[in-house]
């Protein structure tokens, strides 16, 4: 995995890449909570506004995500026709399952 952009003082880093077929890949690493969520939300919101239709969110490097982060993903999932949460670590998978969101976020149990 390439090095992700890291905002100074933030525990999270992310990268939004759009390929030509109305498909965006969002890669997130680190700890994502309410304090660091706004820049990520803004950037993906922008991509959605440009007509992105399929979203793959790679969370393989996410060590922690709070309910705000999960709510953000749920929101994205509702905004595109195809959504995939790629490679969630087991800790994250467990939380998503406990919230009844496995299916909604495309997480295979």
């Amino acid at each position: 995995m390439d090095k992700l952009e890291v905002e100074p003082g933030s525990l999270v880093s992310f990268d939004v890449a759009v390929d030509g077929r109305r498909h965006a890949i969002v890669r997130i690493a680190g700890e994502l909570d309410m304090s660091g969520i706004d820049p990520l939300a803004a950037q993906v919101e922008e991509a959605l506004a440009r007509g992105i239709d399929r979203l793959t969110v790679d969370v393989g490097q996410v060590r922690f995500a709070d309910s705000s982060a999960i709510a953000l993903w749920v929101r994205w999932a509702g905004a595109v026709s195809a959504f995939e949460l790629l490679d969630p670590p087991s800790l994250l998978r467990r939380v998503i399952t406990a919230m009844g969101l496995s299916e909604k976020l495309g997480v295979v149990q």
Partner: protein, 562 residues
């Protein structure tokens, strides 16, 4: 947010005191601090200027005096330089007379070149030969005018005696008569019964002279007196029209034959040049200007420092105001949070309900956790725990609307699963960006029956006889994800003295740790604790590790007492 801010903006008494203190003390101190330093600078600057000016003036005066004294010495040398030529002429005449034993024709031949009318430019106006042994007899020979000494035999005797005694030219003056003149007498030494040569010169009738054209007298006023005093009757020559001579003046007495001359001089211009003359004034003007500039500069710097201090003071006031507002807002948030939670829990015979709420430490924002215990009909309770994602007033208002919606649906006797389905219509994450997990449990006290439904919420814990287990309940979608979601109700039987606990994720979630570890920690801690329900809840909230306690924690429990 508007209502909170409007409350906060009105400053409390403490803030007014601080502000009044800053405004009240400043102006008085300001004017004093702003003025004394520049004034002191000005005074010191002016004092230095005056001192330097005076020192420079005194230096100038001293150097002028010294220079004038030098000029007087120069001039006196020039004046007395006339005497040797007089002496030479008279000595020649006297020696010739002695050598020729008074052959006056020879003397006459030699001396006629020296004598002429006053305007002729010759050295003397009168030249005569006297017998030194008999001055009273008068001159034995005369060339030019009749010597005025001839009419004063006593004076002639004294003059010749003095000249012979001192072996120099005897000098006498005729200053009271017109035209004024000087007389010179000389006789060859050690010639007893020899001749005395005596000559007279004329002075300008008005005693005015054009001597100043000579270098030694350039730019100087002068007066030359016969003798050691400066009496008007002894004045030989001057270029001054008024007396006394202008200051500074310098006088020096120099020997002139057997007598003396006194030169009095004063300078018309600065002898040292114009710079030393003007220096005290230059120092004065520049010093005053510099002092004023320094004072102005000091004043400006003082002003600037004062305004910087004022600004710092104002910032300090603002900072303390902000700290106060922060504290106030935080307490407002907590007050609001508590206002949205039930004051008292219902009391139903055979059971005890208790709850704890612990605010996280995330600044002033209010959290979205809540709990509720609703008495349905005196036999059954509805226990609710929920968590709205995010923080702040938005989360709190969503929480409030969910809480009161549940109360409304409960009043309509809806079962827990129907309540959650109805809630799912309340808001959508695509509009609000929020979702809420809710656990809804209906407890039938007498029947010891618990019906649980979960909208994505963590499972409740059932404690009994020192053991605990999580109720396996199917987690439906959180509220906000999909309108019209359906939920599965799970009904279990409560054992004797069972305790039913529901909570929010802040109690079990730790970063970097599996959710199951947190759940197990809670289960173990709760199962091993046999204290009263309120104590149990308090201990769980305070003693279980929950990271940097950033998340709010809500926990509510019901215990069968019979």
């Amino acid at each position: 947010m508007s209502s909170v801010q409007s409350v906060d903006r009105s400053p409390g008494p403490a803030a007014e005191e601080v502000a009044a203190g800053a405004e009240g003390v400043a102006p008085e101190r300001r004017s004093r601090a702003a003025l004394w330093l520049p004034v002191a600078t000005l005074i010191i600057g002016l004092a230095l200027t005056v001192t330097l000016s005076l020192v420079s003036q005194s230096q100038y005066t001293n150097s002028e005096k010294r220079l004038l004294a030098l000029r007087v010495r120069d001039a006196s040398l020039l004046v007395t330089a006339a005497l040797p030529s007089v002496q030479t002429s008279l000595a020649s005449v006297a020696e010739l007379a002695d050598a020729t034993n008074g052959n006056l024709s020879r003397v006459d031949q030699f001396a006629s070149a020296l004598v002429g009318a006053p305007a002729s430019g010759k050295q003397f106006v009168s030249l005569s030969l006297w017998k030194s042994a008999d001055p009273a007899a008068g001159p034995v020979a005369v060339l030019g005018q009749t010597p005025r000494l001839a009419s004063a035999p006593a004076r002639a005797a004294a003059l010749f005696a003095s000249a012979m005694h001192r072996n120099t030219v005897g000098v006498t003056s005729f200053l009271t008569s017109q035209p004024p003149g000087l007389g010179y007498a000389y006789s060859a030494p050690r010639v007893p019964g020899g001749y005395v040569a005596y000559a007279e010169t004329a002075l300008p009738a008005n005693r005015r002279s054009k001597l100043q054209t000579s270098n030694a007298f350039a730019n100087l006023d002068y007066a030359i007196y016969f003798g050691a005093s400066q009496r008007p009757q002894d004045l030989l020559v001057t270029n001054l029209s008024h007396f006394p001579a202008p200051s500074p003046s310098h006088a020096e007495t120099v020997p002139f034959g057997d007598g003396a001359l006194t030169l009095l001089m004063s300078s018309r211009v600065s002898l040292a040049g114009s710079l030393p003359h003007d220096l005290p004034w230059l120092i004065g003007i520049i010093g005053v200007l510099l002092s004023v500039a320094a004072a102005l500069l000091t004043w400006r710097l003082t002003e600037r420092r004062r305004s910087a201090e004022e600004l710092a003071g104002r910032l300090e006031v603002t900072a303390s105001e902000n700290r106060r507002l922060y504290g106030e807002q935080r307490s407002i948030a907590q007050t609001l949070q508590h206002a949205m939670l039930p004051d008292v829990l219902p009391e139903i015979p055979g059971m005890l309900a208790s709850a704890r709420y612990e605010a996280g430490e995330q600044g002033v924002d209010i959290g979205g956790d809540w709990y509720d215990v609703i008495d349905l009909d005196g036999r059954r309770l509805l226990l609710v725990v929920g968590d709205v994602s995010g923080r702040g007033l938005k989360a709190a208002s969503t929480m409030a609307s969910l809480r009161y919606a549940i109360r409304a649906y409960a009043a309509e006797s809806d079962p827990p699963d129907r309540i959650l389905t109805k809630l799912s219509h309340l808001f959508s994450i695509s509009d609000t960006g929020q979702l809420a997990t809710v656990l809804c449990a209906q407890l039938d006290i007498a029947a010891r029956e618990i019906t649980v439904t979960s909208a994505g919420h963590l499972p409740p814990l059932l404690l009994s006889n020192g053991s605990g287990r999580y109720v396996e309940v199917e987690a439906g979608l959180p509220i906000g994800v999909e309108a019209g979601s359906t939920y599965t109700a799970t009904t279990i039987a409560a054992p004797m003295a069972a305790t039913f606990l529901a909570y929010t994720d802040g109690l079990v979630e730790l970063r970097g740790e599996s959710l199951d570890q947190g759940l197990e920690r809670l289960r173990a801690a709760a199962a091993g604790d046999h204290s009263e329900l309120p104590d149990l809840l308090g201990r769980l909230v305070t003693e279980l590790p929950h990271g940097p306690s950033e998340d709010d924690i809500a926990i509510v429990g019901v215990r069968w007492t019979s």
